[in-house]
């Protein structure tokens, strides 16, 4: 099984995981902020590794990546990715401030890790409920840097199994504020088959 050989049914299933996961994440975020959060239907994308950074606004565009180690019945990683504007929007919402300041300070970083933690937890919960797997995730690690550099880590992990990467993109909206968030689920090769298997589409 490789990413290239995914058929439409596989993609529909992955989309559904993304959908439920992002829905849970939006609910968790709404609870955290005490605000209504809208979510669009997630897009599942399969891209050449060279194209990933373009999606994120170019290799040198600054993004925040929050990265988790996943273990239990499946092994792998989850990356939760936000562009810099969305990161600031989220941390400002969370801490009830309205700073226009360009830099993310240590408080913002800590808040981002927490947001990532909660959203990824919600995302994993959806995967658990769909597959009945026992899955845990590590504490998050945060990097705010060039998109190419941040994405090199999941790209390298995918590169063991494919020249393509798979990710789920979703937009979360609070009023007129738009937070673009992207989840990358990066199972190792056996786990990838296991997920599809458990959902009856392998």
């Amino acid at each position: 099984m490789s990413i290239e050989s995914l058929n439409q049914q596989h993609i529909d299933v992955l989309k559904e995981i993304g959908n439920i996961g992002a829905g849970n994440a939006a609910t968790a975020l709404a609870g955290m902020l005490g605000k209504k959060i809208d979510m669009d239907v997630p897009k599942v994308k399969i891209l050449d590794i060279q194209e990933v950074a373009e999606v994120l606004g170019g290799e040198e565009n600054i993004v925040a990546g929050i990265y988790f180690n996943v273990h239990g019945d499946i092994q792998g990683n989850i990356m939760f990715l936000l562009d810099l504007d969305s990161s600031k929007l989220l941390t400002n919402m969370l801490m009830g401030k309205s700073s226009e300041n360009g830099e993310l300070d240590e408080m913002d970083r800590s808040a981002l890790r927490e947001v990532g933690n909660i959203l990824s937890g919600a995302y994993i919960a959806s995967l658990v409920s769909l597959t009945n797997f026992n899955i845990h995730h590590s504490v998050p690690s945060l990097a705010v840097d060039m998109a190419g550099a941040v994405m090199s880590v999941p790209a390298i992990q995918f590169s063991h199994i494919s020249d393509k990467v798979l990710f789920i993109e979703t937009e979360l909206k609070e009023g007129k504020d738009l937070v673009e968030a992207r989840f990358f689920l990066i199972p190792d090769e056996p786990s990838f088959e296991k997920i599809l298997n458990s959902l009856g589409v392998y």
Binding site: E59, E60, S141, D145, S159
Partner: protein, 162 residues
């Protein structure tokens, strides 16, 4: 400034004295650059993994330190470069994320990539005359075909020419 030629992830390119090779946002990947100062031929590879022999899916030779260097040398030779003149500079190989208790193997991939590149170059007797590897931040690099200088820039960690 000459032609700017972009080197993507798992890609390699060569140029002559008119050109500049660049790769943007290197993280745990390593930019391997070779330069022939006599013939003024430059080459750059953006590798992702240390060793093609450990991976089933190894068709793309530019993805691995070991095979990319072989292909790069051949491509530079075709342009008139002479391997005995080649000297190497390396950049990248960062550890972008850190987990407690040493983390898993994949987190140290940057370090392993840089090491594999040095070992391969050592085996081919190509001297590594400068490097900027490791750390926890991304790098954009530019290799100038006229004199082989390597310009490195970062977000928040300054820029330098090596």
């Amino acid at each position: 400034m000459g032609n700017i030629i972009k080197v993507g992830m798992a890609d390699l390119q060569t140029t002559d004295k008119q050109g500049v090779l660049t790769t943007l946002g290197l993280g745990s990947c390593v930019g391997i650059t070779l330069y022939d100062p006599v013939k003024k031929i430059a080459g750059m590879a953006h590798i992702m993994l240390p060793d093609s022999r450990q991976i089933k899916n190894n068709a793309n030779k530019a993805k691995f330190a070991d095979t990319a260097i072989d292909v790069l040398i051949e491509a530079m030779r075709e342009r008139g470069g002479q391997p005995k003149n080649f000297r190497a500079k390396l950049a990248g190989g960062a550890q972008m994320f850190t987990f407690g208790n040493g983390g898993n193997d994949i987190m140290k991939i940057g370090h392993r990539n840089a090491l594999a590149a040095e070992e391969k170059l050592g085996a081919l007797k190509i001297p590594v005359i400068a490097k900027d590897v490791g750390g926890s931040y991304g790098r954009t690099i530019e290799l100038y075909g006229d004199d082989g200088r390597l310009f490195i820039k970062t977000i928040g960690h300054g820029s330098q020419t090596i």
